[in-house]
């Protein structure tokens, strides 16, 4: 665990702030999603309270702090529940595509041969499609197959889009890692293939996966919203979905009703920004070519004539070797 956290502690100014801001934003959305039932004043598909209908397209004000939209839904409640939908779908799709993509990538990279060729061909074919087009096709197919479970079918159609990304990265890193001496050493001590894949390759090839994961999550939010906007995602009675609300708000904008589109749109932008910031921050810390290590400032003690002073300096040399040396500096050599 300590080893896992090490890169985070070593981030420098910008990367650290980027990641911190991202984490705060995403954390807020997670809190909102979990406690949606307590935060939202109304249900996401509630159109009346005590038998009284909400006023259609009522502007923000008391009772409806973000107003009411053209379907008599309370916008604030829709935005809150929308966070739950978005996070549910994205989490599910990321986990599924991560597991499938990483396992397939590892297998292909290690086993090679015709299995590898077939899967690489398939994945490349999938990768060649624009991701939105692929998601549209699959959500169209899946919504026919799985009636009534909008969230799962949306998550599955996003999964299909993202599997090739993990697959490619993991397969390529596995291809180079399997030639490494430590893999041969594992064979030499008699490790079976599954041990080599699980204990020797897995831990060394998944290093870039968290970065792709968070960046894909941001991408998935916008793809999900795009699906909803096109009316292919989750139906309004199943769950609240920002993209759908945006598409409904399209006509309102012309007539000066800004609040129906503004708030779902803002929610999408914020969450995507938050996730992207985390991804970029992770990239800066995990990617050795971008990473800048923090150098501890060397504090020299005040100059005392004719005295030998030991200066402890934390010298971080490079990626591989990092250790603290104690540097004994002759006082005569220390220039103020």
């Amino acid at each position: 665990m300590k080893r896992f956290l090490k890169p985070f502690q070593q981030t420098t100014g910008l990367a650290r702030w980027i990641m911190l801001i991202g984490i705060v934003i995403v954390f807020l959305f997670i809190i909102v999603a979990i406690f949606a039932d307590f935060i939202a004043p109304y249900g996401f598909n509630q159109v009346e309270v005590d038998g009284v209908r909400f006023v259609k397209q009522a502007p923000p004000g008391p009772g409806h702090i973000l107003g009411v939209n053209d379907q008599f839904y309370d916008i604030f409640s829709r935005v809150i529940y929308g966070a739950r939908t978005a996070l549910e779908v994205v989490l599910l799709s990321i986990i599924l595509s991560l597991v499938i993509g990483v396992v397939l990538g590892l297998l292909c990279g290690y086993v090679g041969g015709w299995v590898d060729r077939c899967l690489v061909f398939l994945m490349d074919a999938m990768y060649a499609f624009p991701s939105l087009l692929l998601a549209i096709v699959f959500s169209f197919l899946l919504s026919g197959l799985m009636k009534g479970s909008g969230i799962i079918s949306a998550a599955l159609s996003l999964t299909v889009v993202y599997i090739p990304r993990y697959f490619r990265v993991v397969r390529n890193t596995t291809l180079s890692a399997r030639e490494a001496t430590y893999v041969e050493a594992a064979r030499a001590i008699g490790a079976p293939n599954r041990t080599i894949m699980g204990r020797y390759l897995f831990t060394n090839v998944i290093q870039s996966v968290p970065v792709i994961g968070t960046l894909n999550a941001a991408d998935a939010i916008s793809t999900l919203a795009a699906l909803g906007f096109l009316g292919l995602g989750i139906q309004p009675i199943d769950a609240s979905e920002w993209g759908y609300d945006l598409s409904r708000a399209l006509d309102d904008a012309a007539s000066g009703i800004w609040w129906t589109g503004m708030f779902p749109g803002l929610a999408i932008v914020l969450l995507v920004t938050g996730l992207t910031l985390i991804g970029e921050g992770l990239n800066e810390t995990m990617n050795p070519t971008l990473r800048k290590r923090r150098f501890a400032a060397i504090v020299l003690p005040e100059r005392k004539p004719k005295a030998k002073v030991a200066v402890a300096a934390e010298v971080v040399t490079n990626d591989i070797a990092e250790s603290a040396y104690e540097e004994i500096v002759d006082d005569g050599e220390v220039k103020p």
């Binding site: 594992a186 079976p192 204990r199 020797y200």
Partner: protein, 437 residues
């Protein structure tokens, strides 16, 4: 040992102290052709990384495999552990437990993995041989876990003892560390600890000190000698460094292009090297004596292409003592003409090249070639050119292998001597494969 494969008794089975009997071992790799030929389905060549090698390894000895890069010594070492596909021959392992000898070359899958408990390897690059994502404790103990031989407190105790045996003491200080926290020498000690924790019988050490600092080398070698005493190990020590081989080995085999050219007791080989290649290698050892600073007759040129090794003795194109029957062939003539051109003026080169063309007809296995003048040159000109090359350096060993050079109507015919059968045969206390003895 009911699972092991029994093999026919070796002819050398009478010697009870032979632990590993490598018998006519071949490791050939198929080359994949380049782009176009692969599309057209043409086969690439074959690299004979290990070609017909026979060694009998005695129990408790340190056997050195010495050779240049590309001589096949590492491949031979890896073949002993079954880490490379073996294309021919046998590797009989007579285990200490007294069972029937096991042929490693024919073991596969689970049986091979199980058998590797008795044969372990130390790798050249300690920085790459350890899994960067595992603590030292986990990786040194992993062989025991894989073979289900220890767990829990027992495992920890064994790891501790192995680490202390290789000089990583106090062990607790190293157990929770990752490889990146250790120095090169410490990593190599950890690699050795991982290899000895299974208590193997044979340890293949593939250039174990070549990546280490000079100051650490001697310590690691001494450690390996101590471990040999303690664990009754038999070593195969692979190296290109003759100095360490002289210090470390009981017997050495000199390898060249996949074949053993000379094998014998270390003292004998170093005192009286017989094969010209061994002599050349020994001359290349740096010496502190300033009068011997520049060795004058190092072998010429580079180690040849392993995909097309020279005919006869593989060393003949570089050998200063080569004779007629060493296996001269048309390719050598081309190399010689190329070399001749490096010494002549530009005008002469252009003239001569226009005369002989691209020398494609020399790219053959035949003993007799006919060269025709290209671009309208005359046979006489071609003949004079070869005569000149010959008189320029009549001592060139190639000419010893040319039995006939004759001017015919439309070209020049050059015929080479028939190569002799060259195999390892006893000379003194050693075995040498050279026509000189």
């Amino acid at each position: 040992m009911s699972e092991t494969v029994t093999v026919p008794e070796a002819p050398t089975a009478g010697k009870a102290d032979v632990i590993l009997d490598v018998d006519h071992l071949q490791v050939h790799f198929k080359l994949r052709g380049a782009g176009l030929s692969r599309i057209l389905g043409r086969e690439g060549g074959i690299v004979k990384a290990v070609d017909d090698v026979t060694i009998a390894l005695k129990r408790g000895e340190v056997f050195g495999l010495v050779g240049e890069s590309g001589s096949g010594k590492t491949t031979l070492g890896r073949a002993v552990l079954g880490l490379v596909p073996i294309t021919g021959g046998l590797i009989r392992h007579q285990s200490l437990d007294g069972g029937a000898p096991v042929d490693i070359a024919s073991l596969k899958g689970k049986k091979l993995r199980k058998h590797r408990q008795k044969l372990q390897m130390v790798f050249q690059d300690p920085h790459a041989a350890l899994n960067p994502a595992m603590t030292i404790e986990t990786q040194v103990g992993h062989p025991l876990v894989i073979h289900g031989r220890a767990k829990g407190a027992e495992l920890k105790a064994k790891v501790k003892s192995a680490l202390e045996h290789v000089g990583l003491a106090p062990a607790e200080q190293f157990m929770s560390k990752y490889p990146s926290d250790l120095s090169g020498g410490q990593k190599q000690r950890a690699v050795i600890a991982r290899a000895i924790i299974l208590e193997p019988e044979v340890l293949v050490a593939d250039e174990p000190v070549s990546m280490l600092d000079m100051s650490v080398r001697a310590k690691i070698l001494q450690l390996m000698l101590d471990l040999k005493q303690y664990l009754q190990l038999t070593y195969i020590y692979i190296t290109h460094d003759l100095a360490t081989a002289k210090f470390f080995c009981d017997r050495v085999a000199i390898m060249y292009l996949g074949k053993i050219v000379e094998v014998g007791p270390t003292a004998e080989i170093f005192a009286e090297p017989r094969h010209p290649y061994t002599q050349a290698l020994l001359k290349a050892i740096p010496d502190v004596d300033p009068s011997k600073m520049v060795p004058r007759d190092l072998p010429r040129g580079e180690i040849p292409d392993a995909a097309r090794p020279p005919r006869g003795c593989s060393f003949h194109p570089r050998c200063p003592l080569a004779r007629a029957e060493c296996g001269w062939e048309p390719r050598d003539l081309k190399a010689m003409v190329d070399e001749h051109w490096t010494r002549v003026s530009v005008e002469q080169f252009e003239k001569e090249q226009a005369l002989v063309g691209n020398l494609k007809e020399l790219n053959t296995d035949k003993l007799k070639v006919k060269l025709e003048p290209a671009h309208g040159g005359s046979v006489d000109e071609l003949w004079t050119m070869f005569e000149n090359i010959r008189t320029e350096n009549p001592e060139e060993p190639l000419w010893r292998g040319v039995t006939r050079m004759e001017k015919v109507k439309d070209g020049v015919v050059i015929e080479f001597a028939k190569p002799a059968e060259i195999a390892l045969h006893p000379v003194g206390n050693a075995d040498v494969s050279c026509v000189l003895y």
